[in-house]
Symmetry: C2
Subunit: 247 residues, 2 copies
């Protein structure tokens, strides 16, 4: 069950049964962290990567004044810190946002997988490149969208990712983030995120309250966000309902 969501529905990189078994066999430990706990710090040598089984985790950089910029957010099924295997040391911190359960995979095991199953290593490489593609979409979001567009873009992306992991029905999904978290993701202040949420509500695009996101108008929200899900490399067969592909 541990790898059920890993690379699920990813174009050309979904896992075979034996590949999933190999990864599950590589797990050395399963543990649970409380909410808002730092799991790894920039600069520390890492000897494990972690598979997120439950909860939400984040990667972030912080500035001199302690303000954070999230550079990635992870949901169940994501293979976290896979990049720490070749890089050895992280350039950012990793923390939980909610309570989170993770499976630990020692780098020595990944090393062994590399010898045994080169095709699988290729898929793990793919997974890290997917993270990079998401980074690029986030750069677009921060560099070219206004506040409302940024939040809308994040919500569209999250909906698509959770849908592909089986955690959204395409319009509604649980999301245990605060407005302060959204602010750290979108490069805004908490106060302004609040105003943006009100605007999205008033425009009948999207609701977000008590940790539940409800997209009222998927096409409208995507348009406001200039959202094009191609960068998520999700298999065409598992297409989101009622989200047209722009362009």
């Amino acid at each position: 069950m541990f790898t059920e969501r890993l690379l699920r529905d990813k174009r050309g990189a979904s896992l075979e049964v034996n590949e999933r078994a190999r990864i599950e066999g590589a797990i050395s430990e399963v543990k649970t962290f409380g909410p808002r706990k730092i799991v790894a710090r920039a600069g520390e040598p890492l000897t494990n990567s972690t598979l997120l089984l439950e909860g939400i985790m984040s990667r972030y950089l912080d500035d001199r004044t302690g303000l954070r910029q999230l550079v990635a957010i992870h949901f169940p099924g994501d293979f976290l810190d896979l990049h720490a295997f070749p890089l050895k040391v992280l350039d950012h911190d990793v923390a939980t946002l909610t309570t989170a359960t993770v499976a630990t995979v020692p780098h020595a095991e990944i090393e062994a997988i590399g010898d045994e199953m080169p095709q699988l290593i290729r898929k793990l490489w793919f997974a890290t490149l997917l993270d990079a593609a998401i980074h690029r979409a986030w750069l677009f979001r921060l560099g070219r969208l206004d506040a409302t567009g940024r939040v809308a873009h994040f919500l569209c992306e999250t909906n698509a990712r959770l849908f592909s992991a089986g955690l959204s029905d395409g319009r509604r999904f649980a999301l245990a983030l605060t407005q302060a978290d959204l602010a750290e993701i979108c490069g805004l202040t908490t106060v302004h995120v609040n105003r943006v949420m009100r605007q999205l509500r008033e425009e009948q695009l999207c609701l977000f309250r008590s940790s539940l996101v409800e997209i009222l108008d998927p096409a409208g929200l995507a348009a406001r966000a200039q959202f094009n899900p191609a960068y998520l490399y999700i298999d065409d067969d598992s297409q989101l309902p009622s989200v047209q592909r722009p362009k």
Copy 2:
């Protein structure tokens, strides 16, 4: 000579002589593009990756109104589109900024390298992860720095990258970009980049005119940018002169 700068001085991932020879043997073609030419478009299937030998190239996403956000910039020695090997299709456009000479490496050759030299494939993976680390630094730049900080951060990064490629002496380097290019990198307007450059000049931090960058006060510029070069994974031995490591 083609691979002279590839992964040079990268911590734990510099290339051995035979590895460089193997990559050079994989080159199918060398060609030159004029300035501001689109080399690959988002969505196209790619069967080659390219090694940048000379000139400057960019990867970007554009919004509905045609405004671009650069998501990466590449200098000689960079292996471009290496991520296209596992991803098969790009999520962004690739274009030259200046006249650029590139060597083409067919994906079939990379495939073969994977069988022959697994250690080398690991290093190529590392190279793609380095790009991702740079993406993260760019996210910090866009999300948490003001206009002056963003430009300063980009100039610090570029100095460090070019220094590691042997193309900067640590304070002065050629950079054939326009202020409009800086704007597309930093998520600003051309007009405002111009004001920022004046400010950096007046504060005696940095000069940039006729395609030449001159950093007058490396420590001051790095402080203004909150720049910490750790994410570039440059070997400690080849440290930039007169840039202290913050923190």
